[in-house]
Amino acid sequence: MHLLVIEDDREAAQYLQKALRESGHSVEHAADGREGLFRATEGRYDLIIADRMLPHLDGLSIVSIMRQKGNATPVLILSALGTVDDRVRGLRAGGDDYLTKPFAITELLARIEALARRRATGDEMTRLKTADLELDLLTRRVSRGGRELDLTTKEFQLLEFLMRRAGQVVTRTMLLEGVWDLHFDPQTNLIDVHMSRLRQAIDRGFDKPLIQTVRGSGYRLGEQE
C-alpha cells in the first residue's frame, strides 16, 4: 500500500517508516501540517497516518480540510492525548481511526489493513461466509458445514466482527472497540477468554480450526495459512 505519514517527530517518523516498509508498504513523509495537507490533497495514497499535534496545522484540521474538499482517503489519527474527548474530536473531524501513542506496530499494521479493506466489503450483506462457516444476519443463525451452532448474543457479535474482517489480523483492542464499544484498555486479558469460548463454539468437532491466534498481534479468522 502507498501511505503518507504526517509526523513532526523526526525520530518517531523514521522508525515508523522503517517498520511500515518492512511490512511491505511504500511510505512518504511530511514533517509538518502544511506540507502534510499539500501532499494529502495533491498526491494519491491508500491511507494517511496523521499525527494529532503538528506545527503550522494540526492533524484534525488536515482531515477536516481534506473532507471538505471531497477527499475520502482513509485517515488514521495518531495522538499523544488519548483522552475520551480527544478521540471523539478526532473521529468527528473526519478521521477513520484513532490510535494513542505509544502503540505497538502490530496494532498499527492491523488497523491499516482494516481501514484499507473496509470499503471493499459491503456493509449491506446479510449473509457472511468464511470457509464452511456461515452467518445469517437476518435470522441470526450460524452454521458450520451445515450443522447449526448455538452462540450467545455476544459470541454472535464477536463472530460477525471477525467474519467481516476474515483473513485480516484483528487485535484485542480492535475487538474491544468494535464489539464492546470500549475505547480504553481494561488491564486483564478479557478478550482471550471470550475468544477461547468462541473457538470452543465454532471449532470443536471440526478438523480445521478457523480461529487462528497471531502471535503478538491478535486473531485472524480463516483456515490456517
Binding site: D9, E11, A12, Y15, L16, K18, A19, E22, M53, A80, L81, G82, T83, V84, D85, R87, V88, R89, T100, K101, P102, F103, A104, I105, K154, W180, D181, L182, H183, F184, D185, P186, Q187, T188, L190, V193, H194, R197
Partner: protein, 455 residues
Amino acid sequence: MKFRPFNASAARLAAAYFLVFAIGVSLLLAAVYLLTKTELQSEADSVIEAELEGLIDEYRLDGRAGLVEVLNLRSDSWGRTGAVYWLSDAQLNRIAGNLTGWPFAGRPTAKWVEFDLLAEEDEETVRHPVRAQIYPLDRGDLLLVGTDVSEQQRFFTRLRTALVWRISLITLFAALVGFIYVRRVGARVRATAESCETIMAGDLSRRLPMEGSNDEFDQLALAVNHMLDRLEQQSTTLRATFDSTAHDLRAPLHRISMRLEEQLREPQLSAAARENLQSMLEEIARLQRTLGTLLQIAMADAGSLAQQAERVDLGQLARELAELYEPETQARELELAVQVEAAYVQGNRQLLAQLVVNLLENALKYVPAGGKLALTVRSVGQHVRFTMADDGPGIPAAERRHVLEPFVRLDRDSAVTGSGLGLSLVAAIVRLHRGTLSLGDNSPGLRVDCEFPRA
C-alpha cells in the same frame, strides 16, 4: 434543581409585606369604624340629654301636670322620630309616656340604660333596641327619655359589612400582586439558575441571557457572565496545558517503544534479550496507562460533558460489562450477582464504562476467592444509583475519603499491583457527571454507591 416557591426569599419577603399590609389596613378600617360608631352614639346621646334637660325644666316650671301634658303631646310622635318617654311615680306606676310598661325589673342604678322594645309590625314581632337615660325627679318620680336606635345599629352593621368586604378585597388584591411579583421574581431566578446549571454541565461558551432592562437580574447575569468568561479562559488554558504535557510525556515514550520494537524485530536476538525488551515494552505500556488515567482525571475535572453527552442506559452498560468480566470472575472463583434495570443518565458512555470497569477490576483485585460481588443499577426517585458491593476486606472508615485521592493506596495492599488511580478516576467521572460517590461498609466488605441525575 427544584424550585420551591415558599422557600424562596422573594416569597417570604412578599408574605411579610402582605401580612404587614393586611394588618395595617385592618387596623385602619377598624379605627374608622370605632370612631364613627362613637361619634354617632355620642350625637344620639346628646340629643337625648338635650331633650331630657328640656323636660326637667318643664317639670320644674309647671310641675308633674305640665310634664304629663308635654309628654302626651310628644308621645304621639313615637314611631316617627323614635323617641321613647316614661314618667312614673316612686312605685313605678306609669303616669305618662309612650311606653306601656317599665322595661326593667326594679330600678337600674346606671344613668344610661339599653333595652329592647317589642313591636308588632306586619304580623311579626320586631325587636327595637332603645338607648335611654333615667332621671329621678322630685318625690321619687322617674323620668326616662330614650331613642329607638335600630336605624343606628343597622347602619353600624352595614358599615361593618362594608369594611370587612373592603379589607378582604384589599388584602386579596395585595395577595394577588404579591403572588404575581413572587412568580415573576421566581421565574427569573429559576431561569438564571437553570441557565447556570446547563452552562456548567455543558457548554462553557454559552452565556446567561440579559433582558436589557439593566435591573438587578441583568446585573447578576452580567456578573455571572464575567465569571464564566474567566472560567472558560482558565479551562482553555488548562486544556492546552494538558495537551502539551501529554504530548511532551508521550512523545519520548513513543520513541522509546518504537526503538524497542525495532530491536525486537532483529532475528538474531537472544531469548534473554528478547524477554528483556518485552518487559521494557510492558513497563512502557503501564506507564502510558498511568499517564492516560492521570490525564483523564485532570480532563474530567477541568472539562465539561457537553460535547459527548448522550443518553446512556447505565443498567445495560453495567450488564454488558459484567458479561465481559464474567469469565474473569469465574476464573477467580468469585460470584458476581448482577441486578440491573434500564436507567438512563446523561453522560459519556466511555467514561461511565471506565467507571464500571474500574470498580469491577478493583473488586476482582482485592476480593479473595470464594467472595461475592453484587452489581446493582436502579432508579431511585430522580436519581440513578449504581452500586458495587463485595464481601472482601473493605476499606477502613478513616481511609475512605483518602483513597479517592490520586496515588493513595492502602499499606496492606502493597503486594497488589496498582497505580492508585482507579478510584480517583471513578471519583472524577462521578464529579463530571454531577453525581455523588460514597464508599461504605458492606459489613463485611466494600460498598461503593454512585448516584447520577436521571435523564
